[in-house]
């Protein structure tokens, strides 16, 4: 049923339709509305056969989900930013144990400096923990991906993160088609665990494993992700057959057929990029965009096929790998091994800095003239940066950078005295 609703509520309703049996939650902005919504549904009896557990931390949230999943319950949690860092050990454990937990990430920057706004630093920090990571472009896709995520997770016995841009999607009111229970039931069968803590048939889960077997266990995690490369597009196709719309898949191309310049992006940014691509096309540019939905596993082959005919690739990233630059770019460049084309990395939108169509159009124009650097910073205020560097040159005790810059840009609220 079509509704105008907040993204967080759409995700909560989609998760509820998946009949989770255990939801562990610890609130953190901008994820809070999702678990609040689910908590209400459990409390008011709209979501039955589900235990909603308020835990004392993010570490506990995922640890309880691990226990619940090992006991055979369909388990869900959600977090963001410092929350995913606090649960980092459990993030690896869930994957290493092969427990099919689904977790929403309301993508948010990581401090310091503390910042509640959107970028991709949080889920990117845990990209190699063995979870599948799917990025939502719209709130419709955010809702739909959760339905696909439970199916994928349980088929492979591998946890899945659904990454939803904080505020930009989680707090946006949009048109979302919420499916009915029968449709979801037809798509998502009941959870049949491959391993379960069962008193009648006891096993232990979580053995100490030495050099004789650790390597094989770890390799099999990689093998699961390889299988996911096959299953993700198949599950998206089945989803389309059941629900009548495109959601998920590995990657999607927009106006790339004759494109000389192809932009690569993840998440909600793709919408703004599409508008900019249309405008650049209308002005005669041959440009398109590839959106990566599945970041883990990274679809090397599909990205290569989508990009290989272009003259240049511009990777737009909402995360800065300090000391090297882009993270998505690494995968994109690996996918293009042996192909000669120009590759540019553009870091944008950190800590909620708006990414505007105007800036994108300027960026595309510079790209078309091959005037970009290998690594670029969209709408970074270089004057502010240079003034802070100068302060550091002028005096040894230049003081804390964040406070200096806030004072510089005139945000007086941060001033102490």
């Amino acid at each position: 049923m079509l509704k105008q609703m907040e993204g967080s509520l759409a995700v909560a309703q989609a998760v509820a339709l998946c009949r989770p049996e255990v939801i562990c939650a610890y609130p953190i902005t901008p994820q809070t509305h999702i678990v609040e919504g689910l908590g209400e549904m459990v409390k008011y009896g709209e979501l039955t056969n589900c235990e909603f557990i308020n835990v004392e931390s993010e570490f506990a949230a995922l640890s309880v989900a691990i226990g619940a999943s090992a006991a055979g319950a369909r388990s869900y949690t959600a977090t963001a930013s410092q929350g995913i860092l606090f649960m980092a050990e459990a993030v690896y454990n869930a994957a290493g144990l092969g427990l099919p937990i689904v977790m929403t990430i309301g993508n948010r920057a990581i401090g310091a400096p503390i910042n509640i706004w959107n970028d991709h630093s949080d889920s990117m920090a845990l990209r190699d923990a063995g979870w599948i990571q799917l990025f939502a472009e719209t709130n419709q896709e955010a809702a739909d991906l959760h339905i696909q995520a439970f199916r994928l997770a349980e088929e492979l016995s591998c946890p899945v993160m659904v990454c939803v841009d904080g505020f930009i999607l989680t707090h946006a009111y949009d048109r979302v088609d919420i499916p009915d229970q029968a449709q979801v039931d037809a798509y998502l069968p009941p959870f049949e665990p491959v391993q379960v803590l069962d008193c009648k048939d006891p096993v232990s889960i979580g053995a100490m494993v030495g050099p004789e077997a650790f390597f094989e266990v770890r390799y099999l995690q990689h093998h699961k992700q390889d299988r996911a490369l096959d299953r993700i597009p198949q599950l998206a196709a089945e989803f389309k057959a059941q629900f009548g719309r495109d959601s998920g898949g590995l990657i999607r191309s927009y106006r790339c057929d004759d494109a000389e310049t192809i932009v690569v992006a993840l998440g909600s940014l793709v919408g703004t990029v599409k508008d900019a691509v249309d405008e650049a096309r209308a002005a005669g540019s041959q440009i398109g965009v590839v959106s990566i939905c599945s970041f883990r596993p990274f679809p090397l082959k599909q990205v290569r096929a989508a990009l290989q005919s272009a003259k240049r690739v511009v990777v737009l990233e909402k995360c800065l790998a300090v000391g090297i630059g882009g993270i998505v770019s690494d995968g994109v460049r690996k996918s293009l091994s042996g192909i000669q084309l120009k590759g540019y990395t553009v870091i944008a939108g950190l800590g909620g800095r708006p990414i505007t169509k105007r800036s994108l159009l300027d960026l595309f124009a510079s790209a078309a003239r091959d005037e970009l650097q290998e690594l670029n910073f969209l709408d970074l205020n270089w004057d502010v940066v240079h003034r802070e560097l100068e302060r550091g040159r002028q005096q040894r005790r230049a003081g804390p950078t964040a406070e200096n810059i806030l004072r510089d840009v005139g945000v007086t609220g941060a001033r102490v005295a």
Partner: protein
């Protein structure tokens, strides 16, 4: 596409106002996108929210920098925030004030705007009268519907009732209707009960 920017202070229901606008537009079969800009999350701090309305899917996620209409929930922001940034001379402004634009000292500044695109309505007073609390957001949406012609009053009323079920919703709808009628008469239109 029609873009609205709502300015107010934390606690005045700025974000809720944008959400209700989007619900009203959705109810009329259009696409709408409402989202907040959390400059800071403190009660009383300046807050902005946005609503886009279009006949087709809205893909952009950038903040509204060139609004077609401004809804100003708190006139004390006039000297604190660059409220009119990006608003073209064809734009609409509705402000929560019992004083006129001239009395607020911005009559000259807004001279380039069409008189029937400007409206000051005492939304907080209306809210006190009908709701018992000085929350101006619902009333201003009634005023917005009147001056912009973008939404039918009935859709706005339905959106308010959806967001605030029961008595509170009905009281807010009454405040919105009063503002709608005041706004219509202020721009010289005959009061039409939509």
């Amino acid at each position: 596409m029609f873009q609205v920017r709502i300015h107010g202070r934390g606690g005045q229901g700025v974000v809720t106002a944008a959400e209700m606008l989007s619900i009203a537009a959705f109810d009329e079969g259009r696409y709408a996108q409402a989202f907040p800009s959390f400059g800071s999350e403190r009660m009383g701090a300046p807050v902005m929210a946005f609503c886009r309305i279009d006949a087709k899917e809205i893909r952009t996620r950038e903040p509204v920098m060139q609004p077609d209409a401004l809804i100003i929930q708190d006139p004390t922001l006039l000297h604190q925030v660059d409220l009119f940034s990006g608003l073209p001379s064809s734009g609409y402004i509705i402000i929560n004030s019992s004083r006129s634009f001239d009395e607020l000292g911005i009559g000259e500044l807004l001279g380039k705007f069409a008189a029937d695109h400007l409206c000051a309505v005492a939304a907080s007073e209306l809210a006190m009268k009908f709701v018992g609390r000085p929350l101006p957001n619902a009333a201003l949406l009634g005023g917005f519907a009147a001056i912009s012609g973008q939404l039918r009053f009935d859709s706005v009323a339905k959106a308010i009732s959806q967001k605030f079920p029961g008595k509170v919703g009905a009281a807010n709808v009454a405040a919105a209707r009063a503002a709608y009628e005041l706004a219509l008469s202020s721009i010289g239109s005959p009061v039409a009960h939509a």
